[in-house]
């Protein structure tokens, strides 16, 4: 048995510290004269830009932060006033509204970008987002065409295409920063990415245990942040080593994120950021632990073996760009969900369908048909939004969630003789 807790909350504490440090550095980048690049989270090529000492900003994180800090509403309205339809992605509107309001975010000031690197991985709306940012900021927009992972037959040529574009991007970065490309430096960065990815994968896989020491959705969304914004840095490696120590300590004490784990679920889809706490509470009261989620894979499918690799620098960057969850075709996504349900011994699948993100949501209703009617996996389908606070109805959510877990409880009682599993 283990001794006292040494790492309790170490992950969350360090995560907050590192993120606020990152915002600070970003806010002052323009005054310091350090070039700033904006990129997306999904399948981004942060390592390559880090090799040129860009400071990296992520418009999606701006929107996420505004959402969770309950500041998204006015920015979204500002963008709608400028002509953006109420039906387009709220993440984009939040960020454009923020920019139009002077870039003063609740977490710091947005720096002016010197480069907009659009990596179009998993989301076509990304293209529209950066086209609009290019117009608003006048910064050069470089487009990295990452093909959809549609067919195994296409993978080799897709990867070669991305690698060639990365070689071209190196030239662009040399021009903007005036620095020569240093491959040794890139290898070092990739090695740090790989170490963080290894530790993150071990954290994710710890959720196979019963009880799970970790909530792979409600906690993972915080635990994954350093990997998305600081990948390739020493601080990022330190974070994942600390977080893993915290998880291992929980395992040693036989505890998890809940007082009692009553249901294990796989969660598909992003969280409703503006109502994150309330949403989580609706599950917590039923003792629901998420043992796997797909949202924690939008930045890369590391648990499926994706790794940055110092020995294959550009190839591994290209593979990471292609293999993020929303860039996988729906058949691969469904297979992955099915594996999660099986390998993580889940009782049910929860699909959170958000209006903003067609990249995620189109296909989820069809997947529900497949899972609940054809595969016999209990499936809860919920609808709201990840960005726009107007689409969340707590009473309706509560009713659906309660009804679902009540039914699961009944099933479990009825089948108690068969091992207590629904």
């Amino acid at each position: 048995m283990s001794g006292p807790f040494r790492f309790q909350n170490a992950g969350r504490t360090l995560q907050k510290e590192l993120l606020s440090q990152w915002y600070g550095e970003l806010s002052s980048a323009n005054e310091e004269g350090v070039p700033v690049a904006y990129l997306f989270i999904s399948g981004n090529v942060a390592e390559l830009l880090r090799a040129f000492d860009f400071r990296l900003g992520y418009p999606e994180v701006n929107s996420l932060q505004c959402g969770i800090k309950k500041a998204a509403g006015p920015f979204i309205l500002k963008a709608e006033d400028a002509g953006y339809s109420s039906d387009v992605c709220g993440y984009v509107k939040n960020d454009l509204g923020l920019l139009a309001s002077g870039g003063k975010a609740p977490f710091g000031n947005l720096p002016r970008p010197d480069l907009l690197l659009c990596t179009y991985s998993g989301c076509t709306t990304y293209v529209k987002w950066f086209e609009a940012l290019a117009e608003a900021t006048g910064a050069p927009l470089v487009f990295l065409d990452v093909p959809y992972h549609r067919d195994p037959d296409a993978f080799a040529s897709d990867r070669a295409y991305v690698v060639s574009q990365l070689e071209e991007l190196i030239g662009v970065c040399e021009k903007i920063t005036g620095k020569k490309f240093d491959e040794t430096k890139l290898r070092g960065i990739l090695d740090r990415s790989r170490r963080a990815e290894e530790a993150w994968t071990r954290i994710l896989e710890s959720a196979r245990r019963r009880p799970s020491p970790f909530d792979a959705f409600f906690e993972a969304v915080f635990f994954m942040a350093p990997l998305y914004v600081l990948r390739g840095t020493e601080a990022c490696v330190r974070f994942y080593e600390t977080a893993l120590a915290e998880i291992e300590e929980r395992i040693a004490h036989g505890i998890g994120p809940l007082p009692e784990e009553r249901f294990r679920v796989v969660v598909e889809g992003p969280p409703p950021w503006p109502h994150f706490r309330a949403f989580g509470e609706l599950f917590r009261r039923w003792g629901v632990c998420a043992v796997a989620s797909t949202y924690s894979k939008v930045g890369g499918l590391f648990d499926q073996g994706v790794r940055h690799d110092p020995d294959r620098p550009l190839e591994s960057i290209a593979e990471h760009a292609i293999h993020c969850y929303t860039n996988w075709n729906l058949g691969l996504r469904r297979d992955l969900l099915e594996r999660y349900v099986r390998d993580y011994s889940a009782d049910a699948l929860v699909i959170h369908s958000v209006k903003s993100c067609r990249s995620f949501s189109v296909g989820q209703a069809d997947a529900r048909e497949a899972f609940s009617h054809e595969k016999g996996i209990p499936t809860l389908f919920l609808e709201s939004d990840l960005a726009d606070p107007r689409y969340f109805s707590e009473a309706q959510m509560r009713n659906r969630i309660d009804a679902f877990f009540e039914a699961l409880t009944h099933r479990r009682l009825a089948g108690a003789g068969a091992g207590g599993k629904p």
């Binding site: 039906d87 470089v142 549609r150 060639s164 067609r358 189109v362 069809d366």
Partner: protein
């Protein structure tokens, strides 16, 4: 401004009865009549008939906006551009499989499949235009396992020196799938012949648009739409003959009275608006002298190089000669330039943006394009549509107001288009 609504309304066109193919002495009325019967037939009867006449040949659906139909033709197949249900079908099964916050064309195309109306097809190709269509390809794969469902990644980094090679590879991959399904190889001659036919066809479509610009009294935008839409279910050669004959006859047709303003209709490049919407625009005083309806029929703006490496030529044409579009990456300057150029080519007095509800590419580009027009002093009006919208009164009022304001203040604008208006 957003106008949309739902409701029951009678279909515009009655269910089709197939007329005889166009004869060399066909009249314009006869041609239009036949095209009307073919246009938008949701059960693809003409395709079934073609399949009956060509045993073993493939009919391949092409989701908008552009995919190289030449590849299908090169394996002896019939490319069938899909345009959704066009408001003519009820959504009975698709609702359960696709949420309500997605554009009509993806939902109704799924319904066409689930209700068996795509039974004449052997496959469907989905080009990379948006996330909704991309994921629809995955829904198709699961629900229609016997169909060949292919997602085509059109290269979108035109600045990259490897983009043409990549595009060539992707076209060749797709061709391989078609060949395997058709059980026959496409020779270089097959491809070259398809390329020549495609060039000729696009040229005829361009002539039709030139006629609408130069002599809009001869044909309404609705008739032009119907003429082109019939091509979705006809072999390219047969449709080319129809267009050729119509283009011979149109200049001899009596002109309609001309007291309208010249309008460029923009934004319905993928999902098609209800025909009532086109009729409403005309009734409210617009002469639609240019549009991006059925954009795939003229997506490539220059002939594809014939001879040499045909797949390379198609890839090169895609990267070099594609129409600037919301479904392709482009800068505001390039897109802004393109819409201003279209305005001046059409000598349009104003632009009417009709965007499909929930269409993210269209709705995002609308904001940037509208700003460009505002800066250039070109008046514009914007609204959204859905396939199955029922009420057009609010749109009619908006358009009438727009037309009146142009007639009233048009003369003061610095734009020279009005000089080009016909008496």
């Amino acid at each position: 401004m957003t106008v949309h609504g739902r409701g029951n309304r009678p279909p515009v066109v009655t269910e089709p009865t197939l007329g005889p193919p166009v004869s060399p002495d066909a009249t314009l009325d006869g041609i239009l009549e036949r095209c009307r019967s073919l246009a938008g037939d949701p059960s693809l009867e003409a395709v079934s008939r073609w399949k009956g006449e060509h045993p073993g040949a493939l009919a391949i659906g092409l989701f908008p906006v552009y995919a190289p139909a030449e590849l299908v033709e090169a394996v002896g197949g019939l490319p069938v551009p899909l345009r959704g249900g066009g408001g003519r079908i009820e959504l009975e099964r698709a609702d359960a499989r696709m949420q309500s916050f997605v554009c009509s064309i993806t939902r109704s195309t799924l319904e066409l499949g689930l209700s068996g109306r795509l039974a004449a097809l052997d496959g469907v190709i989905f080009p990379s235009i948006c996330d909704a269509a991309r994921n629809l390809s995955g829904i198709f794969r699961r629900n229609f396992p016997s169909l060949l469902v292919e997602y085509l990644h059109l290269p979108s980094n035109a600045a990259s020196r490897v983009a043409v090679d990549y595009g060539r590879g992707e076209f060749s991959r797709l061709l391989g799938k078609l060949e395997a399904r058709a059980g026959r190889r496409a020779t270089e001659e097959d491809l070259a012949r398809a390329i020549v036919a495609g060039n000729e066809h696009r040229d005829l479509v361009r002539r039709l648009y030139a006629l609408r610009r130069e002599d809009p009294g001869r044909i309404s935008s609705l008739e032009s739409w119907v003429l082109l839409r019939a091509g979705d279910v006809l072999p390219r050669g047969e449709h080319a003959a129809t267009l050729r004959r119509a283009l011979d006859l149109l200049p001899r047709r009596a002109t309609r009275p001309r007291d309208r303003i010249r309008v460029l209709l923009h934004g319905a490049f993928c999902e098609q608006p209800p025909l009532e919407l086109l009729a409403t625009l005309e009734e409210a005083g617009c002469e639609v002298v240019g549009d991006d309806l059925l954009l795939g029929t003229r997506w490539l703006r220059a002939p594809v190089r014939a001879g040499g490496d045909p797949l390379g030529a198609l890839a090169e044409a895609y990267l070099r000669d594609s129409t600037p579009s919301a479904v392709r990456h482009g800068t505001t300057e390039s897109k802004g330039e393109a819409i201003l150029e279209a305005v001046s080519r059409c000598r349009a007095d104003g632009v009417v943006f009709a965007t499909a509800k929930f269409c993210e590419p269209g709705l995002f580009d609308l904001v940037l394009e509208k700003r460009v027009l505002d800066r250039a002093g070109v008046p514009s009006l914007a609204f959204e549509f859905e396939e199955r919208m029922g009420a057009f009164e609010s749109i009619r009022t908006q358009v009438e107001t727009f037309v009146e304001s142009l007639l009233l203040f048009g003369g003061e604008r610095p734009v020279p288009e009005r000089a080009g208006r016909r008496p």
